[in-house]
Amino acid sequence: MNQRTVVYFLMTIPAWMLFFIFHTYPSLQGIYYSFTDWKGYGDWNFVGLKNYIHVFQDDRALNAYFFTFKFAIISTILVNVISLMIALGLNSKIQFKSTLRAVYFMPNILSILIVGYIFNFIFAHFIPDLAETWGITAFSKNILGDSDFAWIGIVIVAVWQAVAFNTILYLAGLVTIPGDLYEAGEIDGAGPWQKFWSITFPMIAPFFTINMVLAMKNFLMVFDHIMALTGGGPGQATESISLLIYRGGFEGGEFAYQSANAVIYFIVILVISVVQIRLLQRREVEL
């Protein structure tokens, strides 16, 4: 074994060990406990697939799945549309470009909990007070307190924050497009719209793929936005799956049952991400 290999080992083995100890091992443990009735302490027995069967019969869990998917799909689409538009704007020849880029990136730096509390104030006081002075009764209540509309409030905050990061990724994609492509397009007489559809969008297709997959995965795992804004309420209207697992597992003492839920959820996210990558990458190749 030569010097180089030793150095490589020296670098990778600690990382591999830390990853195993703090990531792989707990996951395997979680899978193991999902087949038991462990409460987090004390005695336990193997119960086979009982926990899994119960998850599928639990309408609270099904509700959480439904809410999470609705939220994730809508937010993913909104984030990608908005951040692509902002990136295109920031990439054009405008004044104060770098200042604007910094401003747009701000939300990503702030902690979600802080953002949540600020928006809580906006929803609870700022908007209702404003609506009252203008006499718009439809907005005079806190939408986070309405079980039909609370999810919209969460979408607004989540999208507002996620747009910052996806804009940066799109900007990185836009600078990779060589300028002569546009010149050639101009010679052929293409308008701005045609330039976007025929040059820009296909050229940043790999960035589109990664943004869609990342956004979807992040939104499916939504936790802190909900914790800060509604706590899963009103009722259980905005309870996401991660929140349900945390609540039931740690506060409700149903460790093993929620482990089963987590395993199912892990498989669901994995399948969705793989399918998404496959579909979107096929599109990249075709174009």
């Binding site: 020296l10 987090g40 009982k50 609870a124 307190g145 009103p234």
Partner: protein, 411 residues
């Protein structure tokens, strides 16, 4: 040779990382006995610190280390899993205590003299938390709380009303306040747990104290026992403001402090917060009169702090000394005065004039416990109740409560 060095280095790094998690208990370097006191409240840290200073002065060979982490209930459950319980615990009388008692890791005090001066109602209460299958007393009730109606004295005077003794009198006041253009009750139902304040008073006084026991034996159900509770919850809701579900606890404290409503359904723990927002506010408290028989209306009160000790503790005598120090009449009085709490000790009373309205309940023992402490925590009753108050469908709600209870118990 080099290869082995690399493997050895990386292994020892991992071991070092893991070793950082260990902890040590027992004797200090200077020969003092060190005890760890774990507390789940953030409000009383300063009070404990002062008590510890005094105790250490009296017992120079004992050192007490206070641990009061955020999310304390989760922390103590995690430490139970790691078999690393603190020597002494000052925790709430809730489901977590029940779990610890059932896990058999706490010291049994049933033969000890320290229980003598404690009100039996509270000892019984924590006994119920542990359940029937557990014998013994695993905690000493220390400080207690009260689930109350807080009212604005000035507004009561203006309306010309007095503390109500029956449900009908209470509704009458609500009507009067409403007619006078005031908001009768300030609800803060954006935080679902605040729905539990009226719920617990109503349930404790109408559904029967042994509901949970009977429910588990399938002898009763929410459908059978909780109909009146649900009706009265909806009735109360009619006297709220225009955005009952959009305002949270913190905003509610401020609104009530600023005189936005006549009454506020909260426990004694909200009083320091309200006074912070408006020190001049004249407020009083009373127990929600749930029935029309004043003799039967009980105050819902629970154990806010109980003292517990690890079963396999290394220095039991020293730990006992601390417990006796806390239970000392003067120290117990000092604690409740500073914390605006009530005492579980028979001869220690909260003399603060604000508390006048519920003093009689404590003195005559007309106290009952929080019904929701006996619900399975996995069912998350407060969210279900919040949902019911929005949708107002009583039948569906009571069925749902039964269904969720059975589901959680059976899995």
């Amino acid at each position: 040779m080099r290869k082995w060095l690399a493997v050895f280095l990386s292994l020892s790094l991992g071991v070092l990382v893991l070793a950082g998690c260990g902890s040590n208990a027992g004797k200090n370097d200077d020969g003092k006995v060190q005890l760890e006191l774990f507390s789940n409240k953030s409000e009383n840290v300063e009070t404990y610190k002062e008590m510890i200073r005094e105790f250490e002065k009296q017992n120079p060979d004992i050192k007490i280390k206070l641990t009061s982490p955020p999310e304390a209930e989760t922390v103590i459950k995690a430490r139970l899993t790691k078999n690393d319980l603190p020597d002494l615990m000052a925790i709430g009388g809730n489901a977590t205590y029940g779990e610890l008692a059932r896990a058999g890791v706490l010291k049994d005090f049933s033969e000890e003299a320290v229980l003598d001066g404690i009100q039996p109602a509270y000892t019984k209460m924590i006994g119920q938390l542990a359940g029937d299958e557990v014998e013994g007393v695993y905690g000493i009730p220390y400080a207690t709380n009260a689930n109350t109606v807080i009212y604005n004295k000035e507004k009561f005077e203006k309306l010309g009303v007095d503390i109500p003794k029956t449900w009908d009198e209470f509704v009458e006041i609500l009507e009067k306040a409403d007619a006078a253009g005031e908001t009768p009750i300030y609800f803060t139902l954006k935080d679902s747990w605040t729905a539990m304040i009226p719920w617990n008073s109503l349930a404790a006084n109408t559904a029967g104290e042994d509901f949970a026991e009977k429910k588990n034996e399938d002898k009763t159900s929410f459908k059978k026992a909780y109909g009146p509770v649900a009706d009265k919850m909806l009735q109360l809701l009619e006297y709220g403001h225009n955005d009952n579900f959009g305002v949270g606890y913190g905003d509610g404290n401020n609104a009530f402090a600023k005189g936005k409503s006549v009454m506020y359904l909260q426990g004694n723990w909200a009083i320091p917060e309200i006074k912070k927002a408006n020190p001049d506010l004249q407020l009083g408290v009373f127990a929600l009169p749930v029935t029309n028989d004043p003799e039967k209306n009980k105050l819902v009160s629970g154990v806010d702090v109980l003292l517990a000790m690890k079963a396999d503790i290394q220095h039991p005598e020293e730990a006992m000394k601390w417990i006796e120090f806390m239970l000392d009449h003067e120290n117990a009085q000092g604690y409740i005065d500073e914390q605006a709490a009530f005492s579980a000790l028979e001869d220690v009373f909260q003399e603060e004039p604000t508390m006048e309205g519920i003093k009689v309940h404590f003195e005559t023992g007309r106290i009952t416990s929080f019904p929701d402490h006996y619900y399975p925590p996995g069912m998350q009753a407060d969210n279900l109740i919040q949902d019911f108050l929005i949708k107002k469908d009583k039948e569906a709600f009571l069925n749902k409560m039964d269904q969720e209870w059975n589901k959680v118990i059976n899995r």
